[in-house]
């Protein structure tokens, strides 16, 4: 539970403007910064390659110069992924800053900052909130936007239908 609180607090801190990279207390955590090309992960693996890396519908990967494919699972917004943060860089090189965590035999990556290589402007990986707020017609600084996961129409539909446990209770 303590680790959850740390992650959520740090996510909120990142989202609200902290500038220094911070630990989230993840298993075998390692702060990292590397250069990579933003790719459509499915395209990279299967050769099925729509325009613009899928236009936001597909998981995006980071392909290093050594050919290693890193899939970012998270950005810094609670319960949100990294596609919105990387889509504008499709096919371009970026500097990705964040955390590796190794657990259950798998290494995952959480994106905290990103900039276009070699010298673009750093940006926090919190674009999701503004995009969600815009799509849903609310102020990005509102509590509704900050707790987007409780108000997202797709989430509300599923939870109202199936319950919080998914069993209809």
């Amino acid at each position: 539970m303590k680790r959850i609180v740390v992650v959520i607090i740090m996510s909120a801190a990142w989202a609200s403007g902290a500038l220094a990279a911070e630990s989230w207390g993840l298993p075998e955590e390692e702060k990292t910064r590397f250069e990579a090309t933003v790719v459509d992960a499915q395209c990279e693996l299967t050769g099925d390659c729509p325009d613009r890396c899928g236009g936001g519908e597909r998981q995006l990967g980071l392909l290093t110069g050594e050919g290693k494919l890193i899939l970012p699972l998270k950005n810094v917004v609670p319960f949100a992924g990294a596609t919105d943060e990387l889509l504008e860089f499709c096919g371009k090189n970026v500097i990705a800053d964040g955390l590796f965590s190794t657990n259950r035999g798998v290494t995952v990556f959480a994106l905290q900052f990103v900039r276009e290589a070699p010298d673009g402007k750093w940006r926090r990986a919190n674009r999701f909130t503004n995009q969600w707020a815009e799509a849903n017609g609310v102020d990005p600084k509102s509590k509704t936007a900050q707790q987007w996961f409780r108000h997202d129409p797709a989430v509300v539909k599923v939870i109202e239908r199936d319950g919080k446990l998914g069993t209809g209770k």
Binding site: P27, E44, R58, Q59, N103
Partner: protein
Amino acid sequence: MNRYGILAALLAATLWTVSLSGAHADARHASAKTVKITGEIIDSWCYLTEIMYPLGTAHHQCAVWCAAGGVPVGILSDDGTPYILLSFQGDGQSVANPALLDLQTHHVVLEGQSFERDGMHYLVADRLVEDHGITNMTYEDYGIQPFGE
């Protein structure tokens, strides 16, 4: 080496390079295995980092939140291998796919193509073979993750 010899050597080197590029592309796209995987649909981030209890009814609401937020949805096979879902029943949408929100936490059988790359398993799920619904009743032991409500 005369001029023709140099040209022949350059041509051979070019052909060799092109051949290697093709081999790399083939290797990159040719490692799929046809598989049938039985397991629970999961939120990859919570499962792989264990920042909270990540399975079954206790984690269902959080798994729906994460799927809606674009965190990769996965399937944890009954043999313990986690796969990231890259497409589902011919739909390449793997970010906030409504069909995957509906399927969160269900125990299912999926058929498709699996890939392994740099320590991560991926699945292009062509077909939902069976949907057993939610069978992992963890709420009694773990409450509602992560906030208890």
